[in-house]
Amino acid sequence: MIETLQLYFQYPFVRYAMLVGVLVALCSSLLGVTLVLRRFSFIGDGLSHVAFFAMAIAAIFQWTNNMPLILAVTIAAAIAILCVGETTLMKGDAAIAMISVTSLALGYLFMNIFSTSSNLSGDVCTTLFGSTSILTLLPEQVFLSSVLSIAVVIIYILFYNRLFALTFDEDFSRAIGVNVGFYNLAIAVIIAVIIVLAMNLVGSLLTSALIIFPTLSTMRLYKSFKAVVIGSAVLSVLCAVIGMLTSIVVGTPVGSTIVGVEIIAYIICVIVGRVAVRT
């Protein structure tokens, strides 16, 4: 088994994949805490479908470096849901559901009508489940992913206290002069960035898992916000590494393997949490 890994790690694309995987797992778990606690768990799902739509458009025009387009479209959708959604009549969850199915349906439709690829269902499957895409990242994509991930982590640390206050009690934060509108906008942009990054790792259908599972797991164990944030970051990176190594050795799809590991971790956390309460 170790020999298999050594063999694989000689290839730069495997090392790239590990690097991007760890960074993406880290970022998504950080923002996941805010999203889960603000009852926005489904936004990851909705936005990843938007990203799928953008990817389909990019595929039609045969742009290989499709990140800028996907980023732009997803950020626009995130702002529409998180910032505009508050003031319009439509409730947040309905808006998310609508944007989500619309972009999924249109994305598939456009791919079907305009695609020049000979293996359409294979392409769609790859986009949805990210079966191999992380191993086919271009060097510039790896670079962009790394820079964006590190930027997210730095921003998160700098605004950690404000994010906490905003997540816990938005009205109070606004009343003491925190610029809530600005931070909501920033959160929307960052979430969109993370979802686009996470899509490379696990595909658009499973992106939500990376965002919600680490938080839900660690919330079972810890009682302070800081512990939940740090715990979910550690757990997320751990799950991503175990998942990626397993998929290399056993040959399973990367995305679903990582999510499988997350689910196992969640079950363990639930059990440990229960036992800890009783003793």
Partner: protein, 228 residues
């Protein structure tokens, strides 16, 4: 000069006027109770005072060294998320955000500890917020409000859902903050009897808007109607 002056204030949301012609003055050290039935516009008025929404007309003037973001706010219990993982210290610290930089300073932490001691919740410092009883949670949130300001506290139905003993303790604490620390109190309440026990001034929001001292209120037609 008064801390807060409301002149011909019109409050409402989404273009709908909820209540108009609101006039009142709050001076340093006052204990103002805002009373009125459900739907009379108490909450809308409160949100307008906190600058969470804009007035639809008239004006709010802040004076006597008070800035708009220096009103400490104790929200209604129902708005706080019950399953939130946070220690009480983390929550109280967040009251400092109005005047702190990226990270909390040593002064911020001392202020938070002092506020927790003041409200007798320092022994729960590292406990989880969701493990506390309703009354203890209210005191933690009051400590957070004290970190934000030492001037004016705005309390929104601070005793709803609390049992009679805890309610009495809560009122005593607020009274102490008002009398010993000279903090102005603005309290929204639907319980007139309790409001009258502690308040110095009453603002009655309804089809008729009344503002005056407690005694004026008791002697007015409106007051006689509502106080039994």
């Amino acid at each position: 000069m008064a801390q807060i002056i409301c002149k011909n204030l019109i409050v409402g949301y989404e273009g709908q006027v909820v209540r108009d012609n609101i006039n009142f003055v709050v001076n340093k050290g006052d204990y103002l109770c805002i009373v009125g039935e459900n739907g009379s516009g108490k909450t809308t008025l409160m949100k307008t005072l906190l600058s969470l929404q804009k007035p639809m007309g008239g004006e709010i003037i802040f004076g006597d060294g008070l800035n708009a973001n220096e009103i400490g706010y104790l929200p209604q219990q129902s708005t706080i998320k019950r399953d939130f993982p946070a220690t009480n210290f983390e929550i109280v610290l967040s009251g400092n955000l109005g005047h702190s930089g990226f990270f909390y300073s040593k002064d911020d932490k001392e202020l938070a500890l002092k506020a927790m001691k003041r409200l007798h919740v320092d022994q729960f410092k590292d406990r989880c917020f969701r493990e506390l009883s309703g009354g203890q949670q209210q005191r933690v949130l009051l400590a957070r409000a004290l970190c934000a300001t030492q001037k004016v506290l705005l309390l929104d139905e601070p005793v709803s859902g609390l049992d009679p003993k805890v309610t009495a303790e809560m009122y005593e604490l607020v009274k102490e903050l008002n009398q010993n620390d000279n903090i102005t109190i603005i309290m929204i309440s639907h319980d007139l009897n309790d409001a009258l026990k502690y308040a110095t001034h009453i603002l009655h929001v309804g089809s008729v808007v009344f503002f005056g001292t407690k005694n004026d209120y008791l002697n007015s037609e409106l007051g006689k109607q509502f106080v039994s």
